[in-house]
């Protein structure tokens, strides 16, 4: 199979997923609204003191992002599994990891990228000092692809289980701990006025590694699930 036709298959899978998602906007919008609502609840619960809110802002935004990625995870493969599309993808002559990469890409475009755009709003609601905004967005930009890719592995494994939601969070959340630590440390550094480049580069490296390897894990998980 040559590069041209592989590229065409990748874009077709992505275009189809985008077209389906655009017809089911609530599935896309709900996880994002969830993040905004969680973030809005904190000033009400903790109190409006800027010291406390500003200190916990990064953590709150990132934890909300993790939870929302789990919330949207069912969308990844559930419908494809139920209507038989997944069988056809597995039987496609195209390499399954490539198609899985396309699906992860669409998931990120609809769940990760909007979070980066929403980050300033969330930062404002939590009174995060402006010095940290840029770094927060940067960590989300390089961190959310990791979320999408890892979530896809978990979703692929649990898609045939019916109600795999709880299992999925138990499976995935511990894996996101390093992500949380480095992202929080990066914003902390930025607020202190020191360089956050180390943590951001480390996250970028993690992202590249995940995007390289995760499609193969997703493909293996999907093969097991259609079995």
């Amino acid at each position: 199979m040559n590069n041209m036709s592989m590229w065409r298959l990748l874009t077709t899978v992505m275009r189809r997923d985008l077209a389906v998602a655009l017809r089911r906007r609530s599935d896309v919008v709900n996880p994002l609204l969830f993040v905004v609502i969680v973030v809005t609840l904190f000033p009400l619960a903790v109190g409006p003191g800027p010291d406390i809110l500003g200190r916990i802002a990064t953590g709150v935004i990132w934890v909300a992002a993790l939870l929302s990625s789990l919330l949207g995870s069912e969308r990844l493969f559930r419908d494809d599994f139920l209507d038989g599309t997944l069988e056809q993808l597995v039987l496609s002559p195209a390499p399954l990891p490539l198609l899985a990469f396309g699906k992860v890409g669409v998931h990120w475009l609809l769940s990760g990228l909007p979070l980066v755009v929403l980050a300033p709003l969330c930062a404002m609601l939590l009174k995060l000092p402006i010095a940290g905004w840029g770094t927060l967005m940067l960590t989300l930009l390089v961190g959310t692809p990791i979320l999408s890719a890892m979530t896809a592995i978990g979703a692929g494994l649990t898609v045939s289980l019916g109600r795999g939601g709880a299992l999925l969070s138990l499976l995935l959340l511990p894996l996101f701990i390093p992500l949380l630590i480095f992202a929080a440390a990066a914003v902390e550094n930025a607020l202190l006025g020191t360089s956050a480049i180390g943590q951001v580069l480390l996250l970028t490296g993690l992202m590249l590694l995940t995007l390289l390897l995760a499609p193969f894990a997703v493909a293996a998980a999907l093969r097991v699930s259609v079995n």
Binding site: R8, T12, D79, D83, G84, Q88, S92
Partner: protein
């Protein structure tokens, strides 16, 4: 005449129950295999094993002399599997479904409008598939047969939800495929109104060895 597909000594166990053991069959060009048996006997499992979605406990399958897992890309290019789940996206229209599926099947020059006319969906092309009837959704799925270049078709209950005209249309398409040296393996609870000597039958019974009747 050479064998297009040859299955040897297939054995499958699902949920600790023996579905079939040492099942063997061979199909020459232009032959159709009707897999019969009661519900839950393992017909769909056999079809999924042949398609490569499941692995048998024992046994081997050769397509044009090539082992099943030798060159998966080439193998998948030569077969078309339509399961009882139609792989039709409920949110997309018939036209969009056809268009995307054809591209994923590697066919770029497909005339989607002509296909819609053939399967009798002209005039319904803009409506999301979820608003169409079960039979119309099945027609979207089966439209793949009209552009498919695969030589081996594996069809699980293709006649489900189709009306008499749809069934006749499908029979004509099968006839054409067999004349072009294609091979079809299908399950169906309806008796096939097939009048040729090209029809082979295989019956899977509960906890019984599959027997080949020719």
């Amino acid at each position: 005449m050479s064998a297009v597909i040859e299955a040897k000594q297939l054995t499958s166990v699902r949920a600790e129950r023996l579905l079939f053991s040492e099942l063997s069959f061979q199909l020459q060009t232009g032959e159709i295999l009707h897999v019969e048996g009661p519900n839950g006997a393992g017909k769909s499992t056999l079809l999924r094993i042949i398609a490569g979605l499941l692995e048998p406990l024992a046994g081997s399958i050769h397509l044009f002399g090539q082992p099943q897992w030798g060159d998966p890309e080439c193998w998948r290019r030569q077969l078309l599997f339509i399961g009882h789940k139609p792989a039709v996206k409920a949110e997309l229209s018939a036209l969009e479904n056809l268009h995307f599926q054809a591209t994923l099947d590697g066919v770029t020059n497909v005339d989607a409008w002509a296909l819609l006319e053939t399967v009798g969906l002209l005039g319904l092309e803009d409506i999301p598939a979820q608003q169409l009837s079960a039979g119309q959704q099945r027609r979207i799925a089966l439209a793949r047969l009209w552009y498919s270049q695969a030589s081996l078709w594996i069809l699980d209950e293709p006649f489900t939800a189709l009306d008499t005209y749809g069934i006749q249309l499908l029979h004509e398409r099968f006839q054409h495929h067999l004349q072009q040296d294609g091979v079809i393996i299908l399950t169906s609870h309806q008796p096939l109104t097939w009048s040729g000597d090209r029809l082979k039958k295989i019956r899977i019974e509960f906890q019984d060895d599959g027997e080949l009747h020719e």
